[in-house]
Every structure is written in structure tokens, then in C-alpha cells.
Symmetry: C2
């Protein structure tokens, strides 16, 4: 054989194919494609024979029990939706919650005989449903043949039986197809698929076996059933509010939420796990990585979409995404949080929006935000790259976290705003709020990241000429100053800072910081000497366009005279703390007698800042200075939120379901310049879907009136929200409360 060897010679290798290789199938990798879309479904056969038909052909299956009608009892007034807290959904389908019994009525062709007639009610979800994956569930009317969903017959009357079915408390959440299968000796005969009998199964905060169980009716009413929300913004000492229409019960919103999971190709089998659903949604609500729901934009240029400040509710966004299948433009943090909140409440996971004032960002669990000063104590803006957001909104959802040790269930922080550095992907959480409070940040997901958002230190460095840096002041209380959410059952603010943090300088706080340190969250260790001169800037309430005086109180706490060479810098900033333009710079030298205070007044002219104004009109003042006698550094920071004019919203007419009413929005341009390209939006849950009007010009001093007829759809207390938005003036909102009688 080796004689032959010489004849086998290598050939030139065939040319490599060019371009991208074709998509590779899963053949050989998996036995079948993974079901990852609720919209898919290969239906079961109507007839399923046992064995092959004999020579006489098909046996006469029709001799056996037959189904004449199935009634899902899905009307709003019927028992299922009442008991399952789903009356508010504007939907044509039966919507129930898992772990809780619902009823259907089946009409046979003759009275049902339990000892002879065998049938199963089958529920299927996704393609390729399988019993052991929980995607195919047969429910039997007798206790002997138990499945994961319990079934029993509660009533029999002539040909009609009422069957009660309890979905497992951990079952997959989504839209199921329903069939009734009659078992005969020869085979199975099924009802045809009837789309109107499809059934949505949701999370159930009312049932203790569900991982989203929330044992407080007031909280449940708020965090699951309330469509109207308040989102806080502004500054910690000058909080502003914005009313938001979550609209989780609007027509099409539930389907849009399921579409979001389908679009992310989330495996169907994971959709019963609230933690996984929430984590997936946090990735999917922003468009980064995955063409998710909302595209972020913080530039001030919103030509290609709707300005983030212009939205008044979530439904327009969700319906737009599910119909266009393209990211909706544009969002900033509160829009992400608001739409995420709609997603949570719509699926039955208790959810709320929280606002953290002075939120540290983009430093990846690093607990320092750096401000670089030169040798004289003046801020070096070129080298100061970190920013602290004036506020940041994220979400909390209530989950028992069976994947964690006991004690970390309850509220979980989750955030859909794209972070630059969270674990390589644009998503964050769910992170146990309790774990954050106790510094137990080793548990998934992204707890260290949220911990840094509320616990970072602001470190002032002095940079010498040869590049060496020395920390000269550490402010340990600036970041995470206050965390707010809307109160349950009322419209008040509820401060929840103590859910995230122990009070400063308590033993508990120290223990917590040590714990976090063990897990790699290192605080700035150095403790530079405290200056004995404090700078205090009292709070201010200023409207856009006002001239005003900024007071700087220099307080000498020593028993020696002190002189401070101060640098006062005023800039227009984005709400992210990023500086747009510096419009003011002063270098006063202030001498203060022992134990006295000296007020330095800085006059601010509106013309200096008006031309630089961006977005939400935040002015940021930073005072740094060196105490001559000691060389210590004194600092102060103040965010001034410029007040905007209000929109007047009025509702007139008889407030009764299905009676026409009139909404009137009025606005007067108070400025000496005209406003261009102005959009006004208005909506209200149960009252009116989102509407908008465009005004190409509102001249200085002019007023506009927009009147709109609407018809309330349901009874109860609700609000009409309106918002005016143009590039020169944002965050102008107004609202009217109204209680609709049945």
C-alpha cells in the first residue's frame, strides 16, 4: 500500500468563500428550537388516533361526548375578572392571575357522566409545547388525575358543567391557547382553536404562593392597579413633580408587554420567574444592544422624535413600539422608569418609580466621584470628568427572590436607563434594596452598582503641577441625599431613603460600609483635615428669566480670624450634572471674624444664563476656596432649578361615565421672546387617550386655548394631564383632578 502513497499529492486548497457565512441552524445542537415567542404556536391536532385506523376506516368518534359551547365568563362584571382584580383591563379576553381559581362553563351535547366520560381542558403556550416544561398543561376534572394546575367541577346542570381551574402559582405568565380534549377508546377529539377563548395568565400579588405576593391591600391597589402616577424630579431641596399616565390597562398595552418579551427572544419557560422577567425587561426597555423600546437622548436635539420632557404617559410609547417594531424616540431616565412601571403593573408585578436625588453614575461600583481642583483650589473643569446626576429615576418591584437567601425579598431596584458600565450590557437589577442597605452587595443582580448610586463619596482632589493628586476634601453625604416615591393610596411624597441607607454616622452605617468594603466596594479611605470655615448657600426659588441674588454665607467656626480666597463658578447643567456652559465666574476674597459669619452676595443677571439654557433649566453653582491661614479647602455646591410657567387645565361638564365632557388647556407665553415649534400633549387614564397639538409659533405675551371634548370610560378618581414642550421651554405641565361617577 505504501507504494501507492507517492501518488497522493496535496492539491491547492479550494478558495475560501467570501463574505459573511450564512446563518447556522440549530441542527445537531438542540433537538428542537427553543420556544421564545408567545406569538408562535403550532396547534394540536383536532383528532389524535390511538394506533392506525383499521380496515373499516376512522372509528365513529362522534358517538362520544361532544362540546357544544365553552363560556370563559370573561365579561367585566363576571366572577373571574372581579375576583382576579382584572376588571380594569380594556381587553376582549379572559385575564386571570395565577395561583387562584377561575371558572369556565362547558356545554356538552348531553349530560356529563363522570364515570364514563373523560376529558381534559388543555392550555398551551408558545411553539412546541411540552408537559415537562410547563408549556402544555392538561387539566382534569377529577382529583385522581392531578396535573400542575388543579381542576374540579363545581356545578352540573343538564348539559352544562362549571369547571374551576387553578393555574399553578409559579406558572408561565402570558397568553395561553385553550382546547378541550375528549378522550375516547379510539383516540382524542379536540375543540378547534378559537382565539376568543385564549386566556391571559398574570402574576398574582394577592396570593401568598406567588413570588410577587405583597401582603398589603393599599400597596397592591397603588402598585398594581393605579394607572396614575407622580414622578419626582428637580432638586432635593426643591422637589418638582410630574403626573404620569402609566395606562397599564389601556387597550393593547398588555399585548405590547408580551411583545417586548417576544422581541427579546426570552425563552417561554423563563416567563414564570418574576426575577428573570424583570431583568430581561430592564435590558429590553432601552434600545441599546437589542433594539428595545426606547432610544435615549440627552443632547437637547430631539428633531427626529419626541422630546423626553414632552411625554405625558406610557401608552403612546408602548403602542408605538409594538406596532412599528422600532425603538421609540426619545427617553431620559424618568421615561424609562415610567414605561418600565407600566410593564410591571400590567403583568401584575407590584412596581413603583423612585427618584434618587444626587445620583452617582457611570463609575461602575466605584464609590468615588472626583472633582479636581488646581493648586489654588479652583475647579479644573478639563480634568473633572465625573458628574453627579441632579436626580435619577429607577424602578422598584416587589419579589420574594427565591433565588437568594432569606431576608432579601421585598422591594428590588431595577433600572432600564442605559448605564455605561453595568456588567457589559445595558441593564441593571433586580437588586435587593435590603441587600443594598446592609452592604450585602455580593448577591445578584448589580447590587454594587445601585449601592454606588446612593453611597458614593464626592472626593475633591488637589492636583500639583507634576501630576500628583491629593484628596483634600471628602463629602460623604452629598450623594443619595433623598429617595422619594409616591405614597400608596394618596398623592403625597413618601421618603424611602431609610430603605436604602442607615442614618449617617450610626454604628449600623459603619457595619454596612465594612460589609460593602469586604465585597470590593472601597470608599475613599483618606480623611483630609476638615476646614474650619463652612460655605453655605441658602435655597432659592427662581423662575426662568429672573435676575436674582445668590447668597454665599461664609461661617468661621474657629476662634481665629479667617480669610478665604474663593472661586465661585456658575454653569448651566443638564440634569445629568454635565456642564453645558459656564456663565458666571467670581473670585471674592472674604475675611471672617472668629465665630462669625460673612455673607457674600453674587448678582446673577438673567441675560447671562438665558442664552445658554438647556433642557430642564438647571443652574449649578460650585464654590471652592482655600483658607489662607490653614491651607484647608472649603466647598459648597448648589443646584438651582428654574421654575417654569404652568399650564392651566380645566375640566367641565357632568362627570359621569359615557357623558361628554370638555377639557380646556390654556397657556400664556410670559417671556419677551416668542416660542417656536411647540407641542402640547394631553391624556388621562379612563378619560382620554394621548392627544397632541402643534403650534408653530406662540408670540411673546400671547395666549392659547385648546379645548377638547372627551367621554369618560370608567368611574373613579382620576386626572387629566397636559404638558407643553418646545426647545426653549421644557417641563411645563398642568393637570386637573376629576372624579367620574358611575
Amino acid at each position: 500500500m505504501s507504494d501507492q502513497a507517492a501518488t497522493i499529492t496535496p492539491d491547492p486548497a479550494p478558495p475560501a468563500p467570501t463574505g459573511r457565512p450564512p446563518k447556522v441552524s440549530s441542527r445537531g445542537r438542540t433537538a428542537g428550537p427553543l420556544a421564545n415567542s408567545n406569538a408562535d404556536g403550532d396547534d394540536v391536532p383536532e383528532f389524535e388516533l390511538f394506533g392506525t385506523p383499521g380496515p373499516r376506516g376512522l372509528p365513529p368518534l362522534t358517538e362520544f361526548l361532544d362540546i357544544w359551547d365553552v363560556n370563559m365568563l370573561k365579561m367585566r362584571a363576571e366572577v373571574n375578572r372581579q375576583q382576579h382584580h382584572t376588571t380594569l383591563y380594556n381587553s376582549d379576553f379572559l385575564i386571570v392571575r395565577r395561583g387562584q381559581e377561575f371558572q369556565i362553563k362547558i356545554t356538552f351535547n348531553r349530560p356529563y357522566n363522570p364515570s364514563e366520560d373523560k376529558f381534559a381542558v388543555e392550555f398551551l403556550i408558545g411553539s412546541n409545547p411540552q408537559f415537562s416544561k410547563g408549556t402544555y398543561i392538561p387539566v382534569f376534572p377529577t382529583k385522581e388525575r392531578q396535573s400542575s394546575w388543579a381542576g374540579r367541577i363545581t356545578e352540573t346542570s343538564n348539559n352544562v358543567i362549571t369547571m374551576a381551574i387553578t393555574p399553578a402559582a409559579n406558572c408561565i405568565v402570558g397568553k395561553y391557547r385553550m382546547f378541550i380534549a375528549i378522550v375516547t377508546p379510539y383516540g382524542i377529539r379536540r375543540t378547534r382553536r378559537e382565539e376568543r377563548n385564549d386566556i391571559y395568565v398574570l402574576f398574582n400579588p394577592w396570593v401568598s404562593a406567588d413570588s410577587v405576593f405583597l401582603d398589603d391591600e393599599v400597596e397592591r391597589e397603588e402598585c398594581v392597579l393605579n394607572e396614575m402616577g407622580i414622578i419626582y424630579h428637580g432638586s432635593f431641596d426643591d422637589v418638582a413633580e410630574r403626573t404620569w399616565n402609566y395606562g397599564q390597562f389601556e387597550y393593547g398595552v398588555l399585548d405590547a408587554c408580551l411583545y417586548i418579551m417576544d422581541r427579546s427572544a426570552m425563552p417561554i419557560i423563563n416567563r414564570g420567574d418574576a426575577t428573570k422577567v424583570v431583568r430581561q425587561a430592564s435590558a429590553m426597555l432601552n434600545s441599546r444592544d437589542d433594539d428595545g423600546v426606547l432610544m435615549g437622548n440627552w443632547t437637547g436635539d430631539y428633531t427626529y422624535g419626541v422630546a423626553p420632557t414632552s411625554w405625558t404617559g406610557s401608552t403612546e410609547i408602548l403602542l408605538n413600539y409594538s406596532s412599528s417594531k422600532m425603538p421609540v424616540c426619545y427617553a431620559q431616565c424618568w421615561v424609562y422608569a415610567a414605561v418600565f412601571n407600566t410593564f410591571l403593573r400590567c403583568l401584575g408585578i407590584p412596581g413603583r418609580v423612585v427618584t434618587n436625588f444626587f445620583s452617582a453614575h457611570d463609575n461602575d461600583g466605584n464609590l468615588k466621584t472626583d472633582i479636581i481642583l488646581d493648586e489654588n483650589g479652583r475647579i479644573d473643569r478639563a480634568r473633572t470628568r465625573d458628574s453627579i446626576w441632579n436626580y435619577h429615576c429607577w424602578n422598584e418591584c416587589f419579589i420574594s427572590r427565591p433565588d437568594l437567601p432569606p431576608g432579601f425579598g421585598g422591594w428590588q431596584a431595577v433600572d432600564a436607563t442605559p448605564q455605561e458600565t453595568s456588567d457589559g450590557m445595558y441593564r441593571c437589577g433586580p437588586a435587593s434594596v435590603r441587600a443594598i442597605k446592609h452592604g450585602q452587595i455580593c448577591y445578584p443582580f448589580d447590587a454594587a452598582f445601585v449601592f454606588a448610586e446612593v453611597n458614593s463619596d464626592v472626593v475633591f482632589y488637589s492636583r500639583t503641577k507634576d501630576g500628583a493628586m491629593e484628596p483634600v476634601k471628602v463629602n460623604r453625604t452629598h450623594v443619595g441625599r433623598m429617595i422619594l416615591t409616591k405614597g400608596a393610596g394618596d398623592d403625597t411624597r413618601r421618603e424611602i431613603t431609610n430603605q436604602y441607607k442607615f442614618p449617617e454616622n450610626t454604628p449600623e452605617e459603619r457595619t454596612m460600609l465594612e460589609k460593602a468594603d469586604e465585597y470590593g466596594c472601597h470608599r475613599e479611605k483618606s480623611d483630609p483635615p476638615q476646614a474650619d470655615v463652612d460655605v453655605v448657600i441658602p435655597s432659592l426659588e427662581i423662575s426662568v428669566g429672573d435676575d436674582f441674588s445668590l447668597n454665599l454665607d461664609f461661617v468661621n467656626q474657629s476662634d481665629q480670624p479667617r480669610t478665604v480666597d474663593a472661586y465661585v463658578s456658575g454653569s448651566v447643567v443638564y440634569y445629568t450634572g454635565v456642564t453645558s456652559a459656564e456663565f458666571l465666574f467670581r473670585t471674592p476674597t472674604v475675611t471672617i471674624a472668629p465665630h462669625k459669619s460673612e455673607r457674600e452676595v453674587v448678582e446673577v443677571q438673567s441675560r447671562t444664563y438665558m442664552k445658554h439654557l438647556v433642557e430642564q433649566g438647571n443652574l449649578h453653582f460650585i464654590v471652592t476656596g482655600k483658607v489662607k491661614e490653614t491651607g484647608h479647602i472649603a466647598t459648597a455646591m448648589k443646584v438651582v432649578i428654574l421654575r417654569t410657567p404652568k399650564l392651566s387645565v380645566k375640566v367641565t361638564g357632568v362627570p359621569r361615565v359615557s357623558e361628554e365632557m370638555l377639557a380646556t388647556v390654556e397657556f400664556t407665553n410670559p417671556f419677551s421672546f416668542s416660542l417656536d415649534d411647540v407641542y402640547i400633549r394631553m391624556e388621562g387614564p379612563g378619560l382620554m387617550a394621548a392627544q397632541s397639538k402643534y403650534y408653530s409659533l406662540i408670540p411673546a405675551g400671547s395666549s392659547l386655548v385648546w379645548a377638547e371634548i372627551f367621554t369618560p370610560r370608567r368611574a373613579g378618581a382620576t386626572r387629566l394631564v397636559a404638558c407643553l414642550d418646545c426647545s426653549a421651554l421644557r417641563q411645563v405641565t398642568g393637570q386637573a383632578s376629576v372624579t367620574i361617577e358611575p
Copy 2:
């Protein structure tokens, strides 16, 4: 003013722009772009003046100290690379490890005067370097001006000083730019960027302060410095090996590894954290989501690339990726694991490839793999969708895990093979192996997933005609039968199953399972009655093309006679356990006397399986049967790995560095059919870069000889590996060991 109101009317809204909105910049969102590429770098100014120049223009900076030369002491024989264990890298640059001192020599224009002359050695990485982010590090020659990297002068002689520098033990890993800055009263004067003075800083397993410290010299030599590896495959009772050239020291491989992180846009500031680096790489080594290194393909059709079985080493893949910037085709699990291992060892993270025999997959932390039987006990292939991989390869890396509580450091499982269901992205780990063993699967990352791969149960369900399913047999020992890795310092197999699992049926195992259960990893609870008849299939050694007898031993453990109606099914399977074709089906009825055993012999003709053969030639036999007397189910499963012919590899000549030698590969086609489109690959670390030859046809019975001249590059024991691959015959390998004298 309200009179004017009536004149303001809304306009039709301007048309919405069509198409995709433009990319949005980060303006307003962050103060500057986040540095996420090691290849980027904006260099520092050569002159940096303090204040503005006076009327007399630039002060004469040249009067001060000047740098004539910098010597990085980077040659292989010099102290730095010797002490830092980096002599093997084929690179023109200085490569050191962090937390350990290295030296450079600086030649000034005159003797250095410590009391007058001030300078700093500056290291910069990525764009926009900042002191507080650890991306700009000035190192001073005196103790008084300490930075995060220590500096000291160890020798002064005339104009030359030797400076010793110790990078922080947690510093960023990558390629730094180096400058020397002379500080004068007027400003800073810097050396120009000289690329040849760039320096690579790597992880350091030799230093206890580094999170990858591994306190065992034999392990370090193996898991960091050994380029030659063995990867196990086949079946747990018939283990096969494949030698692999990791090639982590080959020219260009280190740059390719840094490119992988750049390509994933991993923030520079995270690259000192071994856990984050490893997690990012596990996402980035597969092409899913992110155009990563390797495209997976399990279909058997590799027309558009190289068959996974054809590769002999990692370097070709990594160099191809970094030059083409496109995913390389194709990989299966051992290719992912092997290339990942190269990445780990190249960056200095101790790494090894492990093989888990019978690995449960794609069931998302669910601890069940389901096999569905019909009412007679016959396997229902249409409904059985789960598969168990005959084997699966992943990686372990050694990290102290400062992010976790004490006790979970050490080996960490990490996997780059794209899993269908791991946390919504195609990555997995690092998961503490110790946490997996103890069922503490609540810690990041993906521990529950790896736990399921080694601990799942195989559950046999009996499906009745109406769709109800009942577990009839649970096999708790099949999955995770054996876990192997190459021994450190030798070429033996090392079984590490006990690192992942306690012995079956011990109290420790029960405690572990209870723990895992607490964290949501639920095992099959039911305990169906054990059949008193066992089926045993003795091991077999069969070559491709053999006819053979399959013995089935039915063992009756009762004191009654037993009759089994058995179903014997033989299929060709992928190594993923996915069935390609069933080629054998028998239904013997076996009667066994009390306490006796009965052998049933099934004859298997090669013609029945040869035409269906895929890939790695695995035959899978499954026997199921119902014991007539008891109704209990007996089962047995056996994977038969068909042996392939060997390649003969011989090395001749004088084995000495830089002396020419000859490698000869020989192969004879033992089959009665010809082999088409055959590739042979050969390579060896320190001996020869990957080479390949293509043969369009090898007729039946023909032989080929491929002789190749090569020149060993370095001394030591090594191997030459060769692999033959064509669609009809895969996994044909051969190797020759050789020790090269200096």
C-alpha cells in the same frame, strides 16, 4: 392678553422624519466618552506650561534636566522578563506582571541630583487617562510623593539611574504608554511617545496581593505557562484525548487578546478586575450578540469555514479574528474552551479546560432532563426534546473572588459555548466551583446553570393517552458522571468530579441538595418504585466500520421469575446527544429466573449505521422496558464511541534550537470507500506555526505522506500535533513528542 388668545391656533404637525433616527451622541449624558479601547490614546503634551508665557516668550526649559535615553531592559535574557515569568512571549515589548517590581534605566544629560531635579515616570492607558480612574499613573522616584505604583531609585552611576517600579497589584491589565516628565519651575517637559517603550502589564499569579494568586508552582507552570494541552472527549467509560496547542506566547496572540476586550468595548477601568475580564470574555468568545471570536456550528455542514474537529490549536483562530475582525468559522464546545484557555493564560489568569461527561444542557437551571415513554414503555422520540451532551468542555480560572464572601475563591467555572438560556445573553460564569459543590448557587455568576449541568436528574415519564404524565423512573447519577482535566506537570488525566460534587448518597450531598433547593434549584421530588430488574450494557470498543454484538444483560434481583417486554433503540447521535437517525430497533421479550441474569445479544451491522454517521461517530443505545409482573420500568443507556484510524506523526533530525528538523505525517485510508476534500493540519508550540494541506481525494486503501521541514524556536519538551478532517471521517489525530535542546 386673553383677547389675543383666540388668534393662536394649532397648525398641522410637521411630518415625522422617516427611517431610522441618526445615532445619538453622549452629549448631555456624560462629561466625556468612556474609555473602552486599549488601542486608543490621546497623547499628553510634550510641553506643559504653568501659567501663560510672559513677554519674553517661552522660558528656556532646556536648561533643566534632559533625558537622553530610556532602556526598558526588555530582552528575554534580562532581569525583568526572567523575574516576571514572561520570557516565553514572542514579543518586542516589555511584558511584566502587576504587583511586582521591574526596572528601567534612564540616562540623563548630566548626573541626577535628587534634591533639585524633579521627574515622574508616567504610565497611561486608553483615551482620556485620569489619575483617579487608574488610567494615568505618575510614578515618583522618592517615597515622599507616593502614587499607587511605587517607585525608587536602585542605582545611580554617572548620568544613568536605575529606577524600580511596582505596578499596583490590582492595576488595569493591558498595554500602557510610558513617558518621563521633567518638572521645572516653568512647566513640564516630556519625552516623546516612543512605541517601543510601551509596556504590557499582566495578571500575576505569583504575587499574593493579586486576585489571581495561585500558591502552587506546579499548577502555575501548567495553568499559565504551558502552551500544550490535552482536551478529553468521547464517553465517560471510553475517554478519548486530543492534544491542543494553546499557543498563548505566539507572536500577536497577546495583542489579539487585548483586541477582544477592545472589540467588546469593555471599559478600560474594569480591566484590572479578573472576574469582570473573564465574564466579558465568556460573552465575547462566541459570536452571538456581539460579533465575537468564534461562530458555533453543530450541523455537520462546514462548507463556509473550518470544521470544529479540524483545528489543532488556538493561535490560527485568534490571529485570524484580530486581523479579519470577523467571527471565525466554526467552533464546538472544545474549540471555545481551548481558545478561552489561551486568552486566560496569555493575560496571566490561571486557566484550564475541563470536560464534563454527560452534561445536561439548555434547561436553564432546571434540574430535569426528560425522556418520555409511551404507555408500553417505548421511548416517544417526538415528545422527547431534551438531550444530554455526551461530554461538554468548559473552562476553569483561578480567582480569589473578592466580590463574594470568603470561601468561594479558587477555581471558577466559566463557559464561552453559547447556551440557549443563560441570563438572556450568551455567556456563563465565572461561577465558584466550591459554591456549586455546596449548593450555594445564589452567588454570581450563573452558578445555578453550571450546577444543573453536573447535577440534573434524568426523569423517565410515562405518558397516558389523555396527555397526563407520570414519572416512572428517575436516574440521579447519569448526569455529571465524571469531570476531567489534564494533570499539572504531566500528561495524565486528573479526575476533579469531587471538586464539583459530593459522593452520591452521603449526608454532605443531601445537605447540598437542600441548599440548592432553597435557591430554587428543584430536583424531581417523586420517587417512583425501583424496578427489580436491571439492564446492564457492558462497555465496547468498536472501530468505525466494524460489525459488532451489543450485549444486554437483564439482571433479576427478585426471588420471582420476571419477564420484560423490552424496546432496544440504536441511533446515530451528535455529541450533543441530539439524534440524527435511528438505525436499529428491536423488541425482545426476555424471561429471567429469580436472582439470575439473562443475556440478550443484538447484532449490529456496520452498513446499518455507516450511512447515517455524523461528526464524531457516536452511537447511542437506549433500552426501555416494562416488567410484566410489576409494571415497573427498567432502562439502560449506552454511548458507543466509534474509534477512528490514527495519523502517524514522526519527527527526525537533531532536536536543537535553530537546527532544521523534519516532520512526517502519514495516513492510510482503511475504508472501502474514498475520502474527499480532506484537510490535514499540523502545528507545535515553539516548533511550527499552524500549517495545513488539502487533498481532494484519498482513494480506498491509499496512503499519503506529508513531510515538512521546521526549525525549533526554543528549548524544552513539546509536541507536534496533527489532525485529519473530512466530512466522512473526523477526529483523526496524531502527535509526536520531542524535547529540544538549547
